[in-house]
Symmetry: C2
Subunit: 168 residues, 2 copies
DNA sequence: TTGTTTGCAAAAAGTTTGCATAATC
DNA sequence: GATTATGCAAACTTTTTGCAAACAA
């Protein structure tokens, strides 16, 4: 397979979420499944527009909210607090290492962290512990660019909106 | 000592940050140092008002921004994206386990995670990796309350604004 | 004096809500 | 036919910015 990281990502249907099927939700789920990297609500909205689907931004937000409730997307935040969504691989809970320059996301092995968090729950007296781990850095491809003294290519990060495959 | 978790927390002065001393900054730093748990900008602003210090909310935001830049506060987000600040113990980078019910925060040993993150940086080809780890759960004190079927006491969490010592 | 800081008001950004209309089950 | 979803506009929250006046060094 060409994309091990996305193994297990499959088309969801509204029915899977216990919701009514509308063409809007169908379109949203389809575009989301095609996205390799994280997208924000408005990026997703833009992608839908580009695809010729005119869907209200509100509807996109509501769909993402429902997906989040159902645990079907991973959510990360950037430093401004806005959220980015990515359909979750079948395996479940995952964490990503994200390039602050180009937006590339890569799933990382977080077994160590997961086990640690479980132990923590037992030791601390806390129940129902959920964890969020955000890892941002500069990927190998971007490092030379940054080292060359160019300003952070944050704008390039918006290329995520294009959902192009940034993997080698 | 009665509060091992806060060992190393000390009064900062504006001078430590390379900034001019104003009574506003002094008051902000003092109230922040007295806070046991995380506070939001507006909570801090409210505390200052209660203390008789009339300081603009903008000023509070700017002070927190400067503290963050200088690495003098730990910052966490709640699920709505708002930020909460806490003066960082002298030891440096720390993570907290926070009760989603009452807002109690407890520093946790994250050495495992720190080492894992360092290894990750070496393996992944990513440079300059920063990590944020958020752990929320329900503390032992709140668990019975929740188990009793009462609604999450999220409003109580606003008691953090009172900076009362919620530790035993 | 000179550059920094303050505080107000206004802007900005992201997200949510109200409500009438439209579609699904 | 009853319920749920949509979409527009408006509200909302948190945070940032512009700018003139006040202040620290």
């Amino acid at each position: 397979m060409s994309d091990p990281e996305l193994e297990g990502v499959q088309r969801l249907s509204a029915a899977d979420l216990g919701l009514r099927r509308t063409w809007q939700r169908g379109a949203i789920l389809e575009v989301l499944a095609d996205c390799r990297d994280f997208v924000s609500a408005s990026e997703l909205h833009g992608l839908l527009s580009s695809a010729g689907e005119s869907i209200g931004l509100t509807t996109v937000y509501r769909a993402l909210r429902d997906l989040e409730r159902g645990g079907h997307v991973d959510v990360v935040r950037d430093e401004t607090g806005s959220r980015f969504f990515r359909q979750r691989p079948a395996a479940g809970h995952r964490h990503y290492l994200i390039c602050r320059c180009c937006g590339l996301s890569r799933a990382v092995d977080t077994e160590v962290v997961e086990r640690w968090a479980e132990g923590l729950m037992a030791d601390s007296g806390f129940a129902d512990v959920e964890h969020t781990l955000e890892l941002v850095g500069v990927c190998a491809e971007c490092s030379p660019t940054l080292a060359a003294g160019e300003p952070p290519c944050r704008d390039d990060a918006r290329d995520r909106a294009g959902c192009r495959d940034r993997r080698d």
